[in-house]
């Protein structure tokens, strides 16, 4: 403990030195920007800027790249809340209640809550990273394909809490999303599936074009289809800050989102995306007024936005403690270290204490910078809503196309976005929710791969899922949740006489 504090003092002496501070600041600014731009997420931002860091020394480079990563999580909420366009994939859930809040004139409050939630999550999770990295990383390594499959199946249950309308409809949308997730090269056999000779479809439908299409483009089309344009919202200054009630409603979700995001972040995969979905579901399940979700529930913004920030620190755990990537973004950061001759791995802390502790300390500093940067920006961003729709929406469309194109430099991705936009518009007309589709697209490839990897490991025996303790426990939890829901469902479906009889029997026995 004392040693850690001493090390942290060393870290702060590095992180607060002017050049490092400057690069952390630049990273945070760039991160906020890539987060704000629709489509361009942290992966694209880091990838585009990686070459620019080759000339820097290792500490500066890594501090800047990390700044982009968590900065993007701050920025991603902006367009989601104001325009229902996910700034990056992890902000899809924020679109729902954040935008509903903005329509009610609480856009400024939603932005402020997202920023403060992100700050708390960012700072607390770095503490977790600092003290718990080695044991947690060892635990994360025990998550092999069977454990991962069990966890993902648990993630699918999230669906039950995602919709505010018809359960059947949201199941249908999730199934559709899972089907869309099947497109691409089969990782186990090398077959092209549903690619129709388009090589670009080999990697499947990207989450970014699908999310921006289903939410952003669909929203623009829906607005354009209205007889009269929606009234321009004129935010007033005193409405910018959250009310006391809103603070109270967001404090517990922020705390839960922080812990949950960190834990999900450690596990491999697109952690920050999944963490926001799970957090939304948890908040809706625990809420005393779940019916508010989808219509501007504060918890629906506070939870997911904290979770996706916390997940960024979680994702650094395996990277720093073991030198293994837990997802595409840490993989790029690992490469950045290698370019500078720093070999990431278990020996990093001993060999490069200044780099390691400087990096940790810079994350504290970076989060403060982002809060200072983002809170005043709330006032500025909210004014975007003053722009009349005929000017605002074409501009957003242009930025969406640019952003989606920039991720892979692929025109095919732009077409996917357009098709998804039209589809999303149609589905909205028919009163279907589109968030389950995004969940399906994210989960399908991971569920399929981990199932088939598990079976390859066990030579086709399904016993592998119950023989391994972590997997067995997770599956048992999932099964219990399903049974509990089925029970309430079955009870609700009963005839009133049968229900009365049950109640009487209950009284008799007591």
């Amino acid at each position: 403990m004392l040693e850690t504090l001493g090390n942290l003092a060393l870290g702060f002496s590095v992180a607060l030195s002017p050049p490092i501070l400057l690069y952390a600041f630049v990273g945070c600014v760039v991160g906020t920007l890539v987060g704000v731009l629709p489509g361009v997420g942290p992966l694209a931002g880091i990838s585009l800027l990686l070459p620019a860091t080759f000339g820097l020394d290792a500490t500066r480079a890594i501090v800047m790249l990390a700044g982009i990563y968590y900065g993007a999580m701050y920025g991603g909420s902006t367009t989601s809340i104001l325009m229902r366009i996910p700034g990056e994939a992890a902000s899809v859930m924020t679109c729902i209640d954040g935008y509903a809040m903005a329509r009610k004139g609480r856009g400024g409050a939603a932005l402020a809550i997202a920023a403060v939630g992100s700050y708390i999550a960012g700072t607390v999770s770095v503490i977790g990273l600092m003290f718990l990295a080695p044991p947690l990383a060892a635990f994360a390594l025990r998550f092999g394909p069977p454990e991962y499959l069990a966890l993902l199946l648990l993630g699918l249950l999230v669906l039950a809490y995602m919709s505010s309308g018809s359960m059947l409809k949201s199941m249908a949308m999730a199934a559709f999303g899972l089907l869309l997730g099947m497109v691409g090269i089969d990782q186990m056999s090398g077959y092209f599936r549903f690619a129709y000779g388009v090589v670009e479809l080999g990697d499947g439908l990207g989450v970014v074009p699908v999310a921006v299409g289903l939410f952003g483009v669909a929203e623009i089309l829906a607005t354009a289809g209205q007889a009269a344009p929606p009234a321009v919202i004129k935010p007033r200054l005193r409405e910018l800050l959250p009310s006391r009630l809103e603070w109270r409603q967001s404090s517990a979700p922020i705390a839960r989102g922080t812990v949950l995001g960190f834990l999900v972040g450690i596990l491999p995969g697109s952690a920050h995306v999944i963490s926001s979905f799970v957090s939304y579901a948890v908040e809706k399940r625990l809420s005393r007024r779940p019916e508010e979700f989808g219509h501007g529930a504060v918890a629906g913004v506070a939870g997911p936005e904290s979770a996706n920030n916390s997940a960024t620190s979680g994702a650094m755990v395996p990277m720093l403690a073991l030198g293994v990537p837990s997802g595409p973004i840490p993989a790029v950061m690992l490469a950045a270290m290698m370019v500078h001759g720093v070999s990431p791995g278990p020996l990093l802390i001993q060999q490069q204490p200044a780099l390691f502790w400087g990096f940790i300390a810079s994350m504290y500093v970076g989060n403060v910078v982002l809060l200072i940067l983002n809170l005043p920006l709330v006032g500025l961003f909210v004014n975007i809503l003053r722009v009349p729709y005929p000017f605002l929406y074409p501009a957003i469309l242009v930025f969406s196309i640019l952003g989606v194109y920039a991720v892979n430099g692929s025109v095919v991705d732009v077409w996917i976005m357009v098709v998804m936009g039209v589809l999303g518009w149609l589905l909205r007309k028919l009163d279907f929710e589109t968030a389950p589709i995004v969940l399906g697209v994210v989960l399908a490839p991971m569920i399929e791969l981990s199932l088939r990897q598990s079976l390859a490991m066990s030579d086709g025996h399904y016993g592998i899922f119950v023989q391994r303790p972590i997997a067995a426990v997770l599956l048992a939890v999932g099964l219990t949740l399903v049974l509990m829901n089925l029970y309430t469902f079955a009870r609700r479906g009963l005839d009133w006489r049968a229900r009365m009889a049950m109640a009487e029997r209950g009284e008799d026995s007591s």
């Binding site: 025990r142 090398g190 293994v324 993989a331 790029v332 001759g341 990897q453």
Partner: protein
């Protein structure tokens, strides 16, 4: 001069001007694009950046790296194969350039590109893969490993960067050479493949040396043998499969520079010369040193021969693996 004549002369002039310009225009007169068909941070990208920077200094013309990713590299490779052969679009490819068309062939689908659509310029690096197991595993040597695999066919598992990927092919070449059968667990990339062995979910992994060096140093993994024709400088105690009597288990993760077929011979010659100068550049050497990737420069006939022999081995490897369903 009749009106007709005037038009004809004007047309001829208009045609002649660009032709003459093309003939006289020195190469390079505008920026060159180097396509890395894998995402930033991967081997192809990390090799392409220093090569591009060094080429820029030699050619005195901007050389930009563009990541055109997708479908295990096929998207970027197809893009270069189909681009104008004028020396302004180059490709930094890895060994997979020889694997993808073969895999397309066994699936009976129209190939995204073929190897003969490219003109090789130079080989930049060639790292043999290394066979690693966990430190607590019972196998002390490659012989232990192979003997055990013979006794328990299909029981020892390994992770790879994906089916028909480099790490998969290396293992399959070994299996074929040693007459053993291993269990393949594909993962989405070299990083997840490493995580799988560190977590104890698979028993073995064939990996590039740079990636595993930190884990060998920390004592988590043990190296048994390498696929090169000689030992790796950083691992002098690790024998090669060739030494152990399996000469067919030869495999490299290599990076080479290519141009589309049909690029003028003078331009190719210029690019070869420039690349030779570029790899001798001190900054380039320092960059590759940090990546722990030794430079293995080959050009002209030498590269052509290496490339062809490698492509033959890999094609045979892909055919041995065959299509997954046919194994059942």
């Amino acid at each position: 001069m009749t009106r007709h004549r005037m038009l004809a002369t004007a047309a001829a002039l208009m045609l002649a001007v660009p032709l003459a310009a093309a003939a006289q225009e020195p190469y390079p007169s505008r920026p060159i694009t180097m396509v890395a068909p894998f995402p930033p941070g991967g081997v192809a990208d990390l090799t392409a950046r220093p090569v591009a920077a060094a080429l820029e200094r030699v050619l005195k013309s901007p050389v930009g790296v563009v990541n055109k990713t997708g479908a295990a590299g096929a998207v970027g490779m197809q893009f270069v194969a189909a681009s104008k052969p004028d020396g302004y679009t180059l490709l930094l490819a890895l060994s997979s350039i020889s694997i993808i068309p073969e895999a397309d062939k066994i699936f009976g689908r129209p190939p995204a590109f073929t190897v003969d659509q490219f003109a090789p310029i130079a080989l930049i690096s060639a790292d043999p893969t290394i066979l690693v197991v966990r430190a607590e595993s019972p196998w002390r040597t490659a012989r232990d490993f192979i003997e055990d695999a013979r006794k328990r066919p299909g029981q020892i598992s390994y992770s790879s960067s994906g089916i028909y990927g480099t790490l998969h092919m290396a293992m399959e070449l070994l299996s074929h050479a040693a007459g053993i059968k291993l269990r393949h667990i594909p993962t989405p990339g070299a990083g997840p493949a490493l995580t799988a062995i560190l977590g104890g979910h698979v028993d073995a992994l064939a990996s590039g040396p740079a990636v595993i060096l930190p884990h060998l140093k920390s004592g988590k993994l043990r190296a048994l043998a390498g696929w090169g024709d000689r030992r790796v400088a950083a691992l002098p105690d690790v024998p090669t499969f060739k030494e152990l009597g399996y000469p067919d288990a030869e495999f490299y993760i290599w990076a080479g520079l290519f141009a589309p077929k049909g690029t003028p011979e003078t331009v190719l010659a210029q690019l070869r010369e420039a690349t030779r100068a570029a790899v001798a550049d001190a900054d380039f050497k320092a960059a590759m040193d940090k990546l722990e990737t030794p430079i293995a420069f080959k050009q002209g006939d030498e590269f052509q021969k290496f490339f062809e022999a490698d492509a033959r081995r890999l094609a045979a490897g892909v055919r041995t693996v065959g299509r997954v369903e046919e194994k059942k």
